[in-house]
């Protein structure tokens, strides 16, 4: 869409204001939280209260507004439809858990009070990223999100690992952003638009787009695969997950991954899965290979990890592989898109919960929890042990948990799309994953504790976050009807 027609900006109509309300709330919440955090003694508490109340408000607004009429802003650049509003609501929900999770953890790890504002800034970026279909706008949203997250990763000021992680993530992420921007410019040069729907129309009208389009698309794809942490662009992921404070890791694993994947899915659907352009087949093959390699690499490397966060970060790579399988299946069937969203949502929930539990047992500035350190914890703290088990079983895709429903939906829609070989790779590698998830459960419940065993840190926020996530994990695992019905309805 030609942006010129959108300027000068006209006053927003009432329904436009309404639909933007959650975004406004979050942005103002971030500012108020920054201000509240300036108090010398109680800054963290005030900042938390501000961030928490505004995000709760935003979630309520978002939930209330889902079925209000669709609006498009800036000449189609931003679209608020029930579908994007639901995705936004999910992101705000992750941010809510993220904020709760940070409470208590901030004091323990010496995180500054600004962390709450940063979470909200990142959330605002995510909402924009999910709602836009404009490549340049997507880049800006990506940067809003990423810059906040870079700072969050590096925020454990007394930890060298945190500094290393922050720097690594910043430099590599910067390169990825640059690739994205450069790719966008090349695509614009080739097809004359930034708007995904226009690009799709242009592609469908020519079967032979110019060479620079493919170069540009390749760069965009690489940047997005970097952001979601797919093989072979996963190198940053374990170090960053390990170095960041655990609450930040939880937020990244849930919300950042969710957002980046939605953006990747949009790009893939509009630019890659176009059957009229034969050369795009190579990009599809690349996604196929990346999916298979992520599953195999992530799962097999996770086996040999003895540190829990590092193990979970490799398992994240494997989950990216499953998600790419769903993405690849979107080529054939619409339903895969819905399964993808479901899987992302369920995975994010168990991810948040698992990291919340880890943060309950980590000492200040500890880089990671060694598996020997959790020996016997399940028997000592039966409730937390059970919660951790629920999250691990959910990630392993065992029934009773939402992870199973997610996996079932994702794989079954992939089978319907005819991607049986990739599904077989996925199920066989997920047997491997069962092994390392079980290993943690074995240490929790079946080994005797030693003097190295981690000590329970009283953190209200993390406990509440773990309970919330566990309740959601079990609820959606046993009664998935409502959410599946809902996703199906809004996807229309």
């Amino acid at each position: 869409m030609d942006l010129n027609s959108a300027f000068p900006l006209v006053a927003l109509t009432q329904s436009e204001v309404l639909n933007l309300l959650p975004l406004f709330t979050i942005s103002f919440g971030a500012l108020f939280s920054l201000l509240a955090g300036t108090n010398k003694t109680k800054g963290r508490g005030y900042a938390f209260i501000m961030a928490f109340s505004f995000i709760v408000l935003a979630v309520i607004q978002g939930g209330y507004l889902i079925f209000s009429s669709d609006i498009t802003l800036l000449g189609g650049t931003l679209t608020f439809s029930p579908f994007t509003k639901t995705l936004n609501l999910m992101i705000m929900f992750f941010a809510l858990i993220g904020v709760v999770l940070t409470y208590g953890q901030d004091l323990k790890e010496g995180l500054l009070s600004e962390i709450y504002a940063l979470i909200l800034f990142a959330t605002a970026g995510m909402i924009l990223m999910v709602s836009t279909t404009h490549l340049l706008f997507m880049f800006i949203a990506l940067e809003i999100m990423s810059l906040a997250v870079y700072v969050m990763v590096a925020m454990r000021r007394n930890s060298q690992f945190s500094a290393e992680a922050g720097l690594k993530y910043f430099i590599l992420g910067g390169v990825a952003s640059a690739l994205f921007l450069y790719g966008t410019s090349l695509v614009f040069g080739a097809l004359g638009s930034f708007e995904l729907s226009n690009l799709e129309l242009a592609l469908r009208s020519t079967s032979q787009p110019s060479f620079i389009f493919f170069v540009g698309l390749g760069l965009i794809l690489v940047a997005m695969l970097f952001k979601v942490g797919a093989f072979p662009f996963h190198g940053w992921l374990p170090d960053v997950y390990q170095g960041a404070a655990t609450n930040v890791t939880a937020f990244m694993g849930a919300a950042v991954k969710f957002t980046a994947f939605i953006a990747l899915a949009k790009i893939a659907q509009n630019l890659i899965f176009i059957e009229t352009v034969p050369n795009l087949k190579w990009f599809q093959v690349f996604i196929w290979l990346s999916a298979a390699a992520s599953m195999i690499y992530g799962n097999f490397v996770a086996i040999s990890q003895n540190e829990i966060k590092r193990m979970l970060s490799f398992s994240t790579i494997a989950h990216t592989g499953y998600l790419l399988l769903g993405l690849y299946a979107m080529n054939q069937s619409e339903e895969s898109g819905q399964s993808l969203v479901l899987y992302l949502f369920f995975y994010a929930l168990s991810n948040l919960g698992a990291f919340a539990i880890i943060s309950l047992f980590e000492e200040k500035n500890q880089k990671d929890l060694h598996i020997e350190q959790i020996a016997g914890l399940g028997m000592k703290h039966p409730v937390l042990g059970t919660l951790f088990t629920i999250f691990l079983l959910s990630m392993a895709g065992i029934p009773l948990t939402s992870g199973f429903i997610g996996k079932y939906g994702l794989f079954s829609s992939a089978v319907s799309a005819g991607e049986i070989p990739l599904v077989i790779i996925a199920v066989l590698t997920s047997v491997v994953s069962v092994y390392y998830y079980l290993r943690v459960i074995v240490y929790l419940f079946m080994k005797e504790g030693t003097e190295d065993t981690a000590i329970y840190q009283k953190l209200t926020g993390a406990s509440v976050a773990a309970f919330l996530s566990a309740a959601a994990t079990l609820h959606f695992g046993l009664f998935p009807k409502t959410i599946i019905h809902f996703i199906k309805m809004i996807a229309k």
Binding site: L393, P399, S412, V427, L438
Partner: protein, 515 residues
């Protein structure tokens, strides 16, 4: 098929209700948790008895269905029902559970670690087992099938022997490999169901009516038929659970490491999940493919019978001996199922029940001995019959049941299987029959080494005979051993019509090139 009754749902979820109760039991009453478990299993037995008397034996199809929409978008519903094939297995589960609890009652003063967690897992396990036998929806079946793994994983891993972690992880992973491939097959079936009828429907009755292409004209065409791969995916999941040689290696480890009550449930009920799956899904849904591969499965069954028997013969660990005898006895069921004969199908179902009773009983005896003497080594017993005569009698009854003496329940199962298999190929029966003889050899050898002969130990003064609870447990089993042995019709009569129709429909389906 109409929705009339919630009885089945009560059977499935009553253990879970008790588990909730156990969870909220204050720690002051923790000593009473076993009693609570016993009450729970007795409630299960009562419900099962009510079910038995309400079951209409003249009706072949599923009865007492209970349908709740669960995930209609994906063609998945909570649908449970019962027919003549699941009825005996439900009864088995319902009666083995109290027996297992009674037979493994901890001696006074012995405090088991984490008693609450233990009984919750036992109840959870029962819900899983009932659910798997009663599920009539493929998704629900898979759901319960997997759920069973979780409590068993903890039962072996937390309360097991020295090598418990190795054993339990092996058990879990073995089952997972098979069941995940089964999951892919389920996806494919639901996809075909959706393409045929417009909407997916995972109920067994719907899936059974689908036909998956199978062309048995040459090996090439067999390999390119979808039915072949569906059958193999399901069969792999089930034969791992049975276990069929060569997928049996998890079983001796799991059995030996499991606590006695875990072994009893594992042998008596969990192994039957595999053969039940074959009987319920793999064979009737994919009859042509199953028929095409029948020789292979019979052969594996026969190898299992003989191999298991020889392994049992070579064991000096009594529990391992019983575990390998399970491999051997489950081999008969494989032979019976893949003989594709009316009488053999019936024999396989009977054998499932009978093996449940005899192996459960034998594991209880092993548990009694281990609890008293803290050893399972056959060479460290000897001459116990004089000191513990009641236990000796109980052991003898279970041994005779295990070796299929006429008049005991074992005979009722094995004889029809061999009879049916004889009509297919007498050669197999020749070898399978050897297994019966070997079975007698190792079982009697074990009995002799434990109960007869000179006493080898000097510390037998404190050895006490079975207590009241243990005697009740063994009496219940004994009633079943001889009851089924002498009056099989009374116990299995209600399954006749179902079995008749079941085998007719399968034999008709493979008819053109069938027997």
């Amino acid at each position: 098929m109409e929705t009339t009754s919630c009885l089945l749902t009560w059977i499935i979820f009553s253990p879970l209700l008790f588990a909730l109760l156990a969870f909220f039991t204050p720690s002051a009453f923790e000593g009473k948790l076993r009693t609570l478990t016993l009450v729970q299993t007795l409630v299960g037995a009562v419900l099962a008895t009510v079910l038995y008397f309400n079951f209409d034996g003249n009706q072949a199809g599923p009865q007492m269905a209970h349908l709740v929409a669960w995930l209609p978008e994906w063609g998945i519903n909570y649908l449970v029902s019962i027919d003549g094939i699941s009825l005996p297995l439900i009864m088995l589960t319902a009666f083995v559970s109290p027996v297992a609890i009674l037979g493994t009652w901890p001696a006074a003063g012995v405090e088991l670690k984490k008693e609450k967690f233990f009984v919750i897992m036992l109840m959870f396990l029962q819900t899983g087992m009932y659910g798997t036998f009663l599920a009539s929806d493929i998704f629900l079946f898979y759901f319960f099938w997997e759920v069973v793994l979780i409590p068993m994983f903890f039962l072996i891993g937390v309360w097991g022997g020295k090598e418990r972690i190795y054993a339990t992880v092996k058990f879990f992973l073995y089952t997972m490999v098979g069941s995940l491939l089964m999951l892919v097959a389920i996806f494919y079936m639901l996809k075909v169901s959706a393409e045929t009828a417009g909407v997916a429907n995972g109920s067994f009755y719907n899936l059974q009516s689908l036909h998956f292409a199978f062309d048995g004209s040459s090996f090439q065409t067999v390999l390119s038929s979808p039915q072949t791969w569906l059958f193999l995916a399901f069969a792999l999941a089930f034969v791992i659970k049975v276990p069929m040689v060569p997928f049996h290696t998890w079983l001796p480890d799991a059995h030996v490491q499991a606590p006695t009550v875990g072994s009893v449930f594992l042998a008596a009920v969990l192994l039957k999940l595999g053969t039940y799956g074959l009987m319920r899904i793999a064979i009737p849904f994919f009859p042509e493919a199953a028929f095409y591969f029948r020789e292979f499965f019979i052969l594996m069954g026969v190898i299992g019978i003989i191999y298991g028997a020889f392994c049992a013969l070579g064991q000096s660990d009594l529990k391992k001996l019983v575990a390998y005898s399970s491999v051997s006895h489950m081999g008969y069921i494989m032979v019976g199922l893949f003989a594709f004969q009316k009488i053999a199908f019936a024999g396989s179902l009977y054998q499932m029940i009978n093996h449940g009773i005899s192996a459960g009983g034998l594991f209880l005896i092993v548990g009694f001995l281990y609890e008293r003497l803290h050893t399972r080594n056959l060479n460290e017993f000897g001459g116990l019959a004089k000191i513990v005569p009641v236990m000796a009698i109980a052991f003898m009854i279970m041994t005779l049941s295990s070796v299929a003496l006429p008049g005991s329940n074992g005979f009722v199962g094995e004889f029809p299987i061999l009879l049916g298999a004889f009509q297919v190929n007498p050669f197999y029966v020749l070898f399978a029959g050897t297994g019966v003889i070997l079975g007698a050899v190792y079982a009697l050898k074990a009995y002799q080494l434990v109960m007869l002969g000179p006493q080898t130990r000097s510390d037998l003064d404190h050895l006490h005979d079975l207590n009241a609870k243990e005697i009740i447990a063994m009496i219940i089993l004994t009633i079943f051993v001889f009851g089924i042995g002498f009056f099989p019709k009374t116990f299995f009569g209600k399954s006749d019509v179902t079995l008749d129709q079941y085998s007719n429909s399968i034999i008709n389906k493979v008819g053109p090139h069938g027997p």
